[in-house]
Assembly symmetry: C5
Homo-oligomer: 96 residues x 5
């Protein structure tokens, strides 16, 4: 999994039928120091996340292992909202 | 998923039999600011997209989860046509 | 999928038994402008391709979806020989 | 698999139900010379590893092949704690 | 698949039970010109390879398709020992 920040949303009405009722979020990958990387992914939200939140996202076939995304053509999913992480004994992020 | 722009097509008559009747599109990845990246992929069209359109595409095993691509040797699929997306509260793209 | 040029072959007699009778080709990835990238992959040939030909290849689990490669430890397959492709309305490659 | 060093932990209470009771570790990839690369991944711990340990981690669908991670939306798993490795006939790492 | 050179071994006694009796090899990726790239992977040996040999390795779910690695949390496997390869009509490598 990678750590990301939800920064936006994508709307697409014309899509594969298996994608009905899924929310597509724009997620920027962040480093373990909390800095933005240049990388982004469009991920399906499986946990009720919102813009501005720090999340974990999984990619590849693992993105289809949530109840919501099972057997859907989805290769990235937000599967957790991060409360806190620490590295080298220091808290690097704490949800407000 | 990633955001891409359909910029062309590939024709291949000599191919694995499971690939019959699939349309191969040249898709350039774009950034969330709508700029071209140097990356491209050849993706199967599962949603009736055309050259010039902004789309979402999935890669890997998830590319075989549309009805059209099930069990085919296809590792990238266009599974949605984008209407609009916004980042940091601003609309970055709006389909005309 | 990506576009590649078949530039060579690999011979390996000592291999997993499931790999018997497969042909391993050296494939260089090319850009949509037809230029060589620095990337290569060793792919199984599923369509009777030969050195010098421009092909499409799929990677990952999708590489096991041809009849030839089903359930084999193969992560890249040549699944089509390209006749032509066009980008931005211009033909970029035409098979001779 | 890649070699990594466990450098931290991530806590996430709001997550997909299939992720209950899994420990998320921050793992930095190291080179075969034992140097940190800039890359990190958040991996599920399947072997009782702790911060500071050198481990092997697997990614993609293989990350779901441990008993602990079976059918869960997890794309990286720590599946071994490294005792030692050697390269070019020299021991590069020895667990204390 | 990619071409690699087996340069070392990894020993790990504390590991997922499914990994018992597998040999972990340090494999450096080489270019088609036989030069070392900076990339390495830890791969399971499925063909009796040894340090110094030039091999083919597969990654991702395909790494679980050998009899040895079936359903194990392994994302890279050595599935062939290379005898020779040629590129652009020239032999680039010949096993001694």
């Amino acid at each position: 999994m990678l750590i990301g920040k939800v920064v936006g949303t994508v709307v697409a009405t014309q899509k594969d039928e298996k994608l009905a009722n899924l929310r597509f979020m724009v997620v920027r990958q962040v480093t373990v120091d909390g800095k933005d990387t240049g990388n982004y992914v469009i991920a399906v939200d499986a946990v009720g996340s919102g813009v501005g939140e720090i999340v974990l996202y999984a990619t590849g076939s693992s993105a289809r292992q949530t109840v919501l995304t099972d057997k859907r053509p989805c290769d990235a999913v937000i599967m957790a909202i991060v409360d806190t992480w620490e590295v080298d004994g220091e808290v690097r992020y704490q949800k407000e």
